[in-house]
């Protein structure tokens, strides 16, 4: 049994956190150690999201934790929220994804674009885990380019009728409510994109789990089909408008992912350090060989840089000064960094590194999804490129 996780903090980054922020981090850390780590290997191999964790996560207040208490949420600042994501992803990217979707992609749009009635109705139920949500933006033929989506919503006299398909939807088959993004105007009008709260038991709505995933296996990823799905008038998120709305959700989620990736990297580094000290080859611990030390030194350096990035980004966000481009930089850097750390850790562990009993390969495989979703690494490169040069290289 590995020793309890003690954190990775080479630069006293803890000193940049308040007492409450640390207490929140430590509480989630302990919860993850007690409840998530012991079961995750098996859930991953079985390819199942560990549903039994939902009530505990809700009780702690992990869902939509940075939204106000008035709606049943924890009302935390963005640093504390980020630390929650970090600790969850230290356990598993799939479980963090679950919380990210519920909080940043479902509760956040309801909070930001919803009516007071929608907020009062949905947010407390979602904070308490009674209602699980999913976020449907990506379509089979439109991934990096959601502006071209072909899912449509037509207004009728008593509501809306939705038609289309969504792909790669996290929590899709678990959710009771789906936030569906659809065009209310012509297909060449991305400005007509609006969000809808669609109960998943609506007639014409179906969700099918995507099989054969070799990554993010402890998370449900589904294909949604909407065939003449009728929803009432008040299903539309009244303040949503244009592609900007779902992109705001993505910025909220990407912020958490930047922190989450650090968690996965810390888990891999921690495992690699203890393995390097214990595994003896050629008569001494492999950590005593320069090649492995270089690996560990690189990991620690990159993790430390990423930690500092997160804290500063979080402070900016709390002051209302962060930009989507800054979030892109953090998501891009940290996920890529974590993927590298996981790969090196996996290699340091030798044959053991391919087992589910250890964490490294699970994290590595997971991080390949994280690298791709919420804007691929490449797309964030283009966002930064445009920010730097003022020139659009997307199309």
């Amino acid at each position: 049994m590995a020793a309890k996780f003690q954190g990775v903090d080479f630069y006293q980054v803890d000193g940049l956190l308040s007492e409450e922020e640390r207490a929140i981090r430590d509480t989630v850390r302990e919860w993850v150690d007690d409840n998530l780590i012991p079961i995750i290997g098996e859930a991953y191999v079985a390819g199942k999201f560990p549903k039994q964790l939902i009530p505990g996560m809700a009780e702690l207040g992990l869902f939509g934790a940075n939204l106000p208490e008035a709606y049943g949420c924890a009302g935390l600042n963005n640093i504390a929220y980020g630390l929650i994501m970090q600790e969850l992803e230290r356990g598993d990217s799939g479980v963090r994804s679950f919380a990210s979707v519920q909080g940043a992609l479902v509760m956040y749009p309801i909070y930001t674009f919803g009516s007071e009635d929608q907020k009062k109705n949905w947010l407390p139920q979602m904070a308490s885990g009674k209602v699980i949500g999913c976020f449907g933006l990506t379509e089979p033929d439109y991934g990096s380019n959601p502006a071209a989506m072909i899912t449509v919503a037509k207004e009728t006299k008593d509501g809306w009728v939705l038609n289309g398909a969504k792909m790669w939807i996290t929590n899709g088959s678990t959710a009771q409510a789906a936030i569906i993004w659809a065009k209310t105007g012509a297909l060449d009008q991305p400005d007509s994109i609006r969000g809808f709260i669609v109960p998943t038991d609506s007639k014409g709505f179906s969700a099918k789990d995507q099989k054969g995933k070799l990554s993010l296996r402890a998370s449900d990823t589904s294909e949604l089909v909407l065939q003449d799905v009728h929803v009432p008038k008040d299903a539309i998120l009244p303040k949503s408008g244009g592609l900007k709305s779902p992109l705001m959700c993505l910025t909220a989620a990407r912020y958490g992912i930047a922190w989450g990736a650090v968690g996965a990297a810390m888990a891999c580094y921690d495992e690699a350090v203890s393995y390097a000290k214990q595994r003896v080859m050629f008569g001494k611990p492999i950590g005593g060989f320069q090649l492995q030390q270089a690996r560990l030194a690189d990991m620690l350096t990159e993790i430390t840089k990423a930690q500092l990035l997160c804290v500063q980004l979080g402070r900016l966000k709390d002051e209302g000064k962060s930009t989507p481009q800054q979030v892109s930089l953090a998501k891009r850097n940290n996920v890529s960094m974590a993927t590298d750390v996981a790969r090196e850790a996996r290699r340091l562990l030798g044959a053991n590194g391919i087992l589910a009993e250890y964490q490294a390969l699970r994290h590595l495989a997971n991080l390949e999804s994280v690298y791709t979703y919420e804007g691929t690494h490449d797309i964030h490169t283009l966002i930064l490129g445009q920010e730097i040069t003022g020139l659009n290289a997307f199309n």
Partner: protein, 250 residues
């Protein structure tokens, strides 16, 4: 139900402690401090009793340095109503000195229950709870792993060598709590934020030197590396031979 829970700030059992240069204290640099795990059972029990009664107050009392406010806030985050820090920079080795100042604080109010952890995981004295009970003149059951309370009487169980001892007691009483009593809750994140706003009294206290002194601290001797004799039934013969001839335990 008015319940006092006496708690202590201790080094996390997972941290690697270093002996300070004076050779008789711990080097606190880089050491993470936590709420004593046995005290967590006491806090949890107090919260459950209050919840069951439907009303009451849970007050946490901690003797410790200024930094122990953080420890108190952990208990407040779990749900305790207010905290009292008996602030002293250095806590003497002698548990009797600690018991005296805690008892003096408790005497100021009347309590239905006073709870302690069975022991603190830093010095393993097992003494402060029973000593305080004596000083405030209340009955005491130590190392309680199960308890039932009805009105002003209670029945507590304590695990003893080879069995369970069942003790009747009358309230008010002092109990020290053991593993198995309950499963302490995680503080909800909202609770952590709320803890900041709960009252926390800081009262400087003077402690006597006491009759005990630490002369030296030494880490336990390094364990020698184990030896794998072999695997399966084939190894039994050799194992028995070694136990008899080398270890001389058979």
């Amino acid at each position: 139900m008015k319940i006092a829970v006496c708690i202590k700030r201790v080094p996390d059992s997972e941290t690697r402690v270093k002996i300070a240069t004076d050779g008789k204290s711990l080097d606190e640099a880089g050491v993470k401090f936590v709420l004593n795990p046995y005290d967590e059972f006491a806090v949890e029990e107090a919260l459950r009793r209050k919840e069951q009664a439907g009303s009451g107050e849970v007050v946490v009392v901690c003797l410790g340095p200024a930094a122990a406010q953080e420890t108190i806030r952990t208990a407040l985050a779990m749900g305790a109503d207010r905290g009292v820090l008996l602030q002293a920079d250095k806590i003497p080795t002698d548990p009797f000195e600690s018991a005296k100042v805690i008892a003096a604080e408790l005497k100021g109010s009347s309590w239905d229950l006073v709870l302690f952890g069975r022991m603190a995981i830093d010095d393993y004295h097992h003494q402060v709870g029973p000593l305080v009970a004596e000083l405030v003149d209340l009955p005491c059951v130590s190392a309680v792993s199960h308890v039932e309370i009805a009105g002003t009487t209670g029945v507590a169980e304590r695990e003893i060598e080879g069995g369970i001892e069942v003790v009747d007691f009358s309230l008010p009483a002092v109990l020290t709590t053991d593993k198995g009593l309950n499963e302490p809750r995680y503080p909800a994140l909202k609770g952590i934020m709320a803890a900041k706003k709960k009252p926390l009294d800081v009262k400087p206290v003077q402690l006597g030197r006491g009759a005990l002194e630490i002369v030296a601290l030494k880490p336990p001797p390094e364990r020698k590396e184990g030896k794998i004799v072999g695997e399966g039934p084939a190894a039994v013969g050799e194992l028995v031979r070694l136990l008899r001839e080398e270890a001389k335990v058979l």
